[in-house]
């Protein structure tokens, strides 16, 4: 395993991208930092720029306006990076299926940019913080 993957697994720094979410998943992600869940003990840290990130946490359906932004953020994230789709919306557009402004699901958009992208799915509406931690840790140990 390359040292890059090893360092990603050991202490993933994550950047959160919202591409048209209702904020429930976004709030559950921020909840991960708070004392009850305290995700920093796993070395997971929320960073302010995709350039510092090992992984992306994506929430939202992928609205038409946000899709170019998502692709740009993915381009800027140094590779290798993992993409975690948090919530029912990025996994498969959830309840907003068929909306005229909805371009998702997000995995299709990421694969247009990079067919070999590493993508993990954490479904739920919203997924509980325990589920997000479990999903992230599981996916990283599978790398």
């Amino acid at each position: 395993m390359s040292w890059k993957i090893w360092s990603l697994k050991k202490s993933p720094w994550v950047f959160h991208v919202n591409v048209g979410a209702c904020n429930n998943c976004d709030i559950e992600i921020v909840n991960l930092l708070t004392p009850k869940f305290d995700v920093e003990r796993f070395g997971i840290k929320l960073v302010g720029s995709p350039r510092h990130a090992d992984a992306l946490l994506v929430t939202g359906v992928g609205t038409r306006q946000a899709v170019p932004r998502l692709k740009e953020v993915y381009r800027q994230t140094p590779k290798p990076c993992a993409v975690f789709l948090i919530g029912a919306c990025p996994c498969g557009t959830g309840i907003f299926h068929g909306g005229y402004h909805v371009e998702g699901p997000v995995d299709k958009i990421i694969r247009e940019e990079d067919p070999n992208a590493i993508i993990a799915y954490v479904p739920g509406c919203p997924p509980k913080p325990e589920a997000i931690i479990s999903g992230v840790v599981k996916a990283l140990s599978a790398l």
Binding site: N18, V19, G20, A21, C22, N23, N24, C25, D26, I27, E28, V30, N31, L33, T34, P35, K36, G48, S49, R51, G60, V61, T63, R64, Q65, A66, P68, R69, E72, V73, Q76, P78, G94, I95, F96, G98, G99, Y100, H101, V102, C125, P126, K128
Partner: protein
């Protein structure tokens, strides 16, 4: 294989939304004072009203509770009230009380969330961690009653989908007592702290006249002396039966809005207690088979303000038009009135005081017309915290003391 090193670049160029981050709000500044604001809100547009026209009446509460995650009890409630108006249906007493309890619990955890975010923006991360820690018991209660920490899926046309089991009432009352004690301690610490006074007072003032011009609602209005509250003005659910007060302040600054929200937590605890103790017996829903042709308006007081839904039916099983208005839709434009003339260090705080959805505040950028420098959200957050640090130094006051973390 050596990867080429990429140097960080401060985007300089024609002042244009940044190539990399397409922003919601673009502020123009002269030096360090905001002179203008432009807003673009396309990123979250999911076309919900149109999707609503493809769903049946009883499926729509699940859709609208996902308009905004933190007002997810108010949107379905306003919607079903609009439809109940068309159908001439009155839900049973117990349902009205259950709706009230869920909505007030939501208000408590939403206001605590805001207090935490406010603390985060000014650099008081202890307040942030603390406030969000004490949201958790409320979310656990909601999960126990409805099955989900957010998106409760609790209302339906004609009443509620789930009841509050009588056995859980003592537990809920017990938790409310604990939350009340912690909130008292937090309120006292925040409202007595001289640094918070210096940092929040006089910042982001929304005058009463501007509050009326922009037709704002919720704590944004009540902090500026405009006493509107749907629970009192157009009582719905069980609010007409409860004893409570509308909280207002007059200064219109961030401090006033913080006071309104903190004091409202106590009113919500009071209301939830009364509703739990007075919970009448009986069913929690009536059957509604058909929605006749007609139109109805339903509204609820979400934590951010008035949520308004308009529904038109032609007698079929889908609405022919559904208009959903979230409170942030009128509150956020008022940012124009409260941030022009402000220092850029205060911009994130002023926007946060309006309490838009969290993701809105991530999309703030400032463009300096003179030298084309662009500050992004991270930079603005840093400026805000630096201002707090400066104030702390000037006043020489001790660190905020929070007991019994």
């Amino acid at each position: 294989m050596r990867k080429s090193v990429r140097k960080p670049v401060l985007a300089i160029g024609p002042f244009h939304p940044l190539q990399e981050e397409m922003e919601f709000y673009q502020l123009t500044v002269d030096g360090e004072i905001v002179t203008d604001i432009d807003v673009r809100i396309s990123y979250n547009h999911r076309g919900i009203e149109r999707i609503s026209e493809t769903l049946q009446f009883d499926q729509i509460p699940f859709l609208v509770s996902r308009i905004c995650g933190i007002c997810s009890a108010s949107h379905p409630l306003a919607y079903v009230q609009a439809v109940e108006e068309i159908a001439g249906v009155k839900p049973p007493e117990r349902a009205l009380y259950v709706r009230t309890i869920i909505n007030e619990l939501e208000r408590i955890h939403s206001h605590l969330l805001w207090v935490g975010l406010g603390g985060h923006f000014i650099g008081y991360d202890t307040v942030f961690m603390w406030a969000w820690k004490y949201r958790e018991p409320v979310l656990d209660l909601l999960e126990e009653i409805t099955g989900n920490r957010n998106n409760y899926g609790n209302v339906r046309i004609g009443g509620c989908r789930e009841d509050v089991p009588d056995e859980t009432i003592p537990k809920i009352l017990n938790e409310l007592d604990k939350i009340e004690k912690k909130t008292e301690m937090l309120t006292k610490a925040v409202l007595d702290d001289p640094i918070i006074h210096a940092r929040l007072k006089g910042v982001g003032v929304l005058t009463k006249e501007a509050a009326i011009d922009y037709a704002v609602t919720g704590p944004t209005a009540r902090g500026s002396g405009v006493a509107v509250d749907v629970r009192r003005d157009d009582p719905y659910a069980a609010y007409g039966d409860l004893d409570w007060s509308v909280i207002t302040q007059t200064e219109g600054d961030v401090f006033a809005k913080a006071v309104v929200r903190l004091l409202e937590i106590f009113e919500s605890i009071k209301m939830a207690r009364q509703a739990l103790k007075k919970l009448p017996n009986g069913p929690v829903a009536v059957e509604v088979k058909e929605i006749p042709p007609g139109e109805g308006c339903g509204r609820a007081e979400a934590p951010r303000g008035e949520t308004f839904h308009y529904v038109r039916s032609d007698g079929g099983n889908r609405p022919i038009r559904h208009k959903a208005r979230a409170p942030s839709y009128v509150n956020v434009p008022s940012f124009k009135a409260s941030c022009i003339g402000q220092h850029i260090a205060d911009v994130t705080l002023t926007l946060a005081a309006v309490d838009p959805c969290y993701s809105c505040t991530e999309r703030l950028a400032v463009v300096d017309g003179r030298n084309n420098l662009i500050h992004d959200y991270e930079a603005l957050l840093k400026l805000s915290r630096e201002k707090t640090a400066r104030i702390k130094k000037e006043i020489g006051a001790p660190e905020l003391k929070l007991e019994d973390f």
